[in-house]
Symmetry: C2
């Protein structure tokens, strides 16, 4: 029966060259020569069967693409350029080489769009569900990384697209907004940025906490796909709390052209009271009053 | 109920400082300033419940230590110095904060011994078993990395300790041999090196394949714990095929002092026939003849 080592041989036959990679996958560790001009950014993100995808519905190629694209979206959130990735797979017993190759090709396909080769990994099988973990290395490449902690009183809050209803399909098919993020960060003073993975209400709260500011939302663009849903939640509720939009949420003191981003609110002028009980994120209600917006989305109970 | 975000807050309260880490865990990606004198080495390795540990037997602290130590052992195998790690955890629903904190503290404890801070990660829960994936970044720090591909005809083959029976306990408690690896690589011409995770027969085959050489074993040191086993396999078979010893296997043209490593064989003087069917690894039988040694260990069927 073909096993782990045959799969590793096959992976090595698929590797793309990269001038900064001195030794690719196949040894104990990969070796890179990092440019002294570049900051090194690094992160890890996993996709789990039944949580981030459903293996009874989604094809392995699509699962692979999502596993990589989530990490590429983290690069976008920092305005960084992807450099290389590592892939760790926990595969159900008997899943077969062909399935794993499709999964790998999905990961590679998504990476190739950004010249991001797979330089290492780990594969093991177990009598459980599929989990795929991608580690991403990225470089600053001439753009200072944008963190979550720089939002300032009075900054305008933007998103790069309409929100909500990603679960209907876009959570598997989104494209990481790396070029847009880098263009924004090169052209305008972007004070903070995050990619919307946990939902607007929660991700905006992250920016507010890290920047020690409050925020008031007044115009949240609702994705057209939501309108059709019949689950008791309003389209606005979906746009505020649904996860996995993978649009960029950012702040800037400047006016950003409407073809690049949508203005959704403003950072509060007064510094917020430092307390976990005082809400940081507010939304303008139907009659103009500000009401606290509780973060509701996608927190995993442990 | 405490969730993922409380766990992340707790993790951030545990972080150790490191001068090369400009931005630790808590943003989309961590940011490091990499020294231009250093090569960047990177790898990933996972531990799965029921495969690499048994959550009904092993404490979370011990599981965490193993998850990190497997990656630190990969650093040893390249003679590299650990620099930083990222941790991705797929946690069973309802596992509880305390369990995850213990797991994390085990990972941190193992990293702290080598000044290797945890700089990022991802936690999600699912209705399945525990999986912990560690990504390691390491630096060359003045020692040229030792790969698997440099073994030369006539080199002597060494291991750093007796082998076999790791499953009786050592697979959870081993210490990564980073100092020894770097001392060896700084002092002697080490032509190839690997850490013994898949078993001597298989890992030596890896070196032979990557270096395009053959090997003859004549004296394999058997760990004393094996002698007590009653499973139909001889102690020598255990020493040859058991996985997870995490001793170093390396080659050198020089004689290495016996207090540093044990001589177990020699790389063949003739280049091997290039064929998958001709065995690369041989062992001296009881009456002095060479017999092929089939790799048997720990390959995961997929």
């Amino acid at each position: 029966m073909p096993g782990e080592f045959d799969f590793i041989s096959w992976i090595r036959s698929q590797q793309s060259a990269s001038k900064s990679v001195l030794l690719p996958a196949g040894d104990d560790l990969a070796i890179l020569k990092w440019s002294p001009d570049d900051l090194l950014l690094v992160g890890v993100d996993q996709v789990l069967d039944g949580v981030h995808f459903d293996s009874s519905v989604h094809a392995p190629r699509a699962i692979g693409r999502k596993a990589m694209n989530r990490n590429l979206s983290d690069c976008a959130a920092m305005a960084a350029l992807p450099a290389a990735a590592l892939v760790s797979i926990a595969a159900p017993h008997g899943i077969g080489q062909e399935y794993l190759q499709e999964l790998y090709l999905g990961i590679k396909e998504a990476g190739d769009k950004f010249n991001c080769p797979i330089i290492g990994g780990d594969t093991a099988s177990w009598p459980n569900k599929l989990a795929a973990t991608v580690t991403i290395l990225a470089r600053s490449a001439g753009v200072t990384p944008v963190t979550r902690s720089g939002a300032k009183p009075g900054d305008v809050i933007y998103v790069t697209g309409p929100l909500g209803g990603s679960i209907l399909g876009r959570h598997m098919t989104f494209e990481p907004k790396i070029e847009l993020a880098r263009r924004l960060a090169q052209t305008y003073p972007i004070t903070s940025m995050i990619d919307l993975s946990d939902g607007l209400s929660r991700d905006l709260q992250q920016i507010c906490r890290e920047s020690n500011v409050s925020a008031l939302l007044n115009l949240v663009p609702v994705h057209e796909e939501i309108e059709m849903r019949r689950d008791g939640h309003s389209p606005l509720e979906h746009a505020l709390h649904d996860g996995e939009d993978y649009e960029l949420l950012f702040t800037s003191p400047d006016l950003i052209p409407t073809d690049l981003a949508i203005r959704i609110g403003q950072i509060g002028l007064e510094p917020p009271a430092i307390s976990r009980t005082v809400p940081r994120v507010w939304i303008q209600g139907p009659s103009g009053q500000s009401v606290p917006l509780e973060p509701k989305a996608w927190e995993h109970p442990l």
